[in-house]
Symmetry: C3
Subunit: 139 residues, 3 copies
């Protein structure tokens, strides 16, 4: 049994940026030569999230509108008064989404469905560098 950690950095364009990172996960698994186990994908920070959806333009728009409806960006939040950076909505969206996902793999392949992409969601109100940790445990 082995543990392999890979770090990837992504440059995001601020609130609403949804980046398909599935290809990076597949590449990290291939590089590890592990065949059976699981992969944990974790994004560092409190204004980003890891989620999954079918990555196509229609649904990307739906996801963006869903977050806007659920946690409006034009409302003020108590957090905004703490630092003056007006990103209370970003924090709430990240809390709702979560920063971690675990996906099993077999025969060297992640068991994702064909239309099930792993997506890094930027919620912050400005471009950020995001560290994503890809950790594989297996044989």
């Amino acid at each position: 049994m082995e543990i392999v950690n890979e770090h990837r950095e992504f440059s995001t364009q601020g609130s609403g940026d949804l980046i398909d990172i599935t290809r990076d996960l597949i590449a990290a698994l291939a590089k590890s030569h592990l065949k059976k186990g699981n992969m944990t994908v974790f994004v560092q920070g409190s204004t980003a999230g890891i989620t999954t959806f079918e990555y196509e333009p229609g649904l990307i728009g739906d996801v963006q509108e869903f977050y806007e409806r659920l946690v409006p960006s034009d409302r003020s939040y108590h957090h905004d008064e703490t630092w003056g950076d007006a990103n209370g909505f970003s924090h709430l969206r990240a809390t709702l989404t979560g920063q971690s996902l675990t996906v099993p793999f077999e025969a060297g392949k992640l068991l994702l469905g064909t239309w099930q992409q792993v997506v890094l969601a930027e919620f912050d109100n400005r471009p950020r560098k995001r560290l994503v940790v890809i950790q594989m445990i297996g044989k």
Copy 2:
């Protein structure tokens, strides 16, 4: 340390079908003979989810109404125009819910609470066959 993967297929009845799979998880753990470790439960696909709640008729109804209120099925979504299958709401509900859950076990028992069932949630607008991967890592 060992890794054991089990696959289970479930036939669902379409949107709002909530299936208690706790018994299947307990059986998979017993079969593995593992005593200490964790179990990852993962459903393949972008219109289903894995969640937990007390599986009783009242709460089943509450969960169904909650999803309907949060992501109405009678609204149109951009995704509906991509494939013409009118299940944009299914995708958004699945994204909100997540497809993966990790539960520790000890002495051969999952550390779930008595009223904490693991539930496969079908969000798609038609009956589906769902592959659930039950992966145990432990000793």
Copy 3:
């Protein structure tokens, strides 16, 4: 490769109590002497959750208001009729939040961001004792 389980009990003050447990996680990791692997944090029960956010008074208030807006506590739920304990809203909030989180660690340090605290969320409408399982797998 080793597996270490730690149990921690927390006394909560009922609905809306949000407890930063990051320090407990760091202490458990230090005690384990593990250097590389991942930690799964799991709370037992169907009316509590594990989440992450920047733990500061403004955001604590925002998170509380967010849950109240999304799943109002003054509405009645079908579940309330099952047991007569009027905590249907607690169950729905817990289902939305999830009870499990996995965080990778390296060089003996959890890879959490500086403003990314792990929080035990009490949703039940009365004080509870909560069992949190901290499981580390690694070397």
